[in-house]
């Protein structure tokens, strides 16, 4: 496509896919430890001791990429007053009445909330995860940290899973072209005009 617009450069795509793959690994192994009904997932992934061994290490990679994303995308992810106007009209977006929505820049408020939800739940997960990883380093007198950590680790994971389900659904099933854009990087002008009009004007000058 000659008039295709670059939406995600190579660095952004690589970053996205490292986080996606590492997130899926910690999600699947985490679910195996979460419920006896899902313990079989660990067997598929090489056995539960192996899953338990790699879960925290892969999670560290995921966390590192989260902060890399924060650096690269911080400017795009700040929530603006325009976003809030769009957010108030999100019912139209859900019902696919996109013509009734105000124009927005590179990301809509839902994408921004997704980013912040993953970042903050990721921070909670890594902090509580360190407590779960090295419980022997927590003195007995501070054991309440361990008690709180097990609860927060699962709660933050569930929040990230909710966000993740919506993200994957929107990016693949609802907003057609979104999935291609995070793989090949490009979108059509019509796609950009429809979904991100202010960004379209900004990058094309039209």
């Amino acid at each position: 496509m000659n008039d295709a617009i670059l939406r995600y450069n190579l660095v952004e795509r690589v970053m996205h896919w490292i986080s996606a793959i590492t997130y899926c690994y910690v999600l699947l192994t985490g679910l195996a430890f979460y419920s006896p009904h899902l313990y079989w997932i660990a067997t598929l992934l090489g056995g539960a001791p192996t899953s338990r061994y790699w879960h925290p290490w892969v999670a560290l990679v995921f966390t590192a990429v989260l902060f890399w994303m924060l650096r690269v995308w911080l400017g795009d992810m700040r929530i603006t007053p325009q976003d809030r106007v769009w957010g108030d009209a999100v019912g139209h977006y859900i019902r696919n009445e996109d013509e009734d929505l105000p124009p927005i820049d590179r990301f809509n408020i839902g994408q921004k909330y997704f980013f912040w939800a993953m970042l903050y739940s990721g921070i909670v997960l890594v902090l509580t995860g360190l407590v779960l990883w090295f419980p022997e380093l927590i003195p007995w007198s501070l054991r309440s940290f361990r008690y709180v950590a097990v609860l927060l680790h699962v709660a933050a994971a569930l929040i990230s899973i909710g966000a993740f389900i919506i993200h994957v659904y929107m990016g693949t099933a609802v907003v057609r072209g979104g999935f291609t854009s995070i793989i090949r990087g490009e979108v059509s002008p019509a796609w950009a005009r429809t979904h991100h009009r202010l960004w379209y004007h900004r990058v094309t000058g039209r």
Binding site: A32, F33, Y34, S35, P36, H37, Y39, A42, A48, P49, S51, R52, Y53, I94, R95, N96, D98, E99, L132, P135, E136, W140, R143, R146, Y147, V148, V150, L151, V154, A155, L158, I161, G162, I165, I166, Y169, A173, V174, V175, R176, G177, S188, P189, A190, W191, R193, T194, H195, R197, Y200, H201, R206
Partner: protein, 295 residues
Amino acid sequence: MSTGALRIQRASGHAGPIPGEDTQRRMQVAKLIDTTTCIGCKACEVACLEWNDLTFRDTVFENSYQTMPETAWNYWNLIKFNEHERDDGSMMFLMRKDQCMHCADPGCLAACPAENAIVQYQNGIVDFQQEYCIGCQYCVTGCPFNIPKFNSQTKKVFKCTLCSDRVGQGLEPACIKACPTGCLHFGTKDDMKELAETRAQQLRDHSGYAHAGVYDPPGVGGTGVIYVLHDITNPEAYGGLPSNPRVPWTVRIWKGPLKWLGNLAMIGGLIGVTMHYLRYGPKHVDGGTGEGGRP
């Protein structure tokens, strides 16, 4: 350590009922430790290492007769010493044999995600089966007694087995066998409870220990190891024996409501997006015509 002679009544990380549960008459076993006749000789420590084939660990001297600060992955039985000052200013040397308490309602088992890694036999013994252990150490968080200990080399957790291998063959645990004063007893929970109460009564009536009593904490459903203490009102003085041990409430929420709510939320989320797709479907990009596409 597993043993074929003992039937399992509860298993960690196991969905659904336990095969063979309740097919045998349940006879709860218990170890009785009379702290008032313990002389701190540590014969039980040595017997434990001997029977369980554990090599002797370096001891740690901390100005006490105690061998090391706490039990270890390869040291499951430790006499805790405490120089206790009574209200009248006199001294007491409190000695308590510390090991797994074999709770009727074990926090380690509740917390464990690995199927069969922690089991409770129908006689009440709580046992770790290391071949199923994944090294997550959730049991460490579930235990109110600070008992499960992690071996960072093998990534497995260990603790006292109550000599389930001996008990399964009709023998008493090795520590009981070694005790020279007879302060350790082993038998059915009912018998041990009766013996303990008799001893506590004796201490109250004849030895001047008005607060003597039996430690069998109800917060964990009672334990398979019970103590006779000179002062039941202050178990903390006996090397930090918790006065009201309970499985942490966060562990209960984590393994109870949070699991169900989480499962419902995840399944609800998947159903929700599916329903949304069936109702509204994908968004359309109409190539520059119409309001949505107009520059």
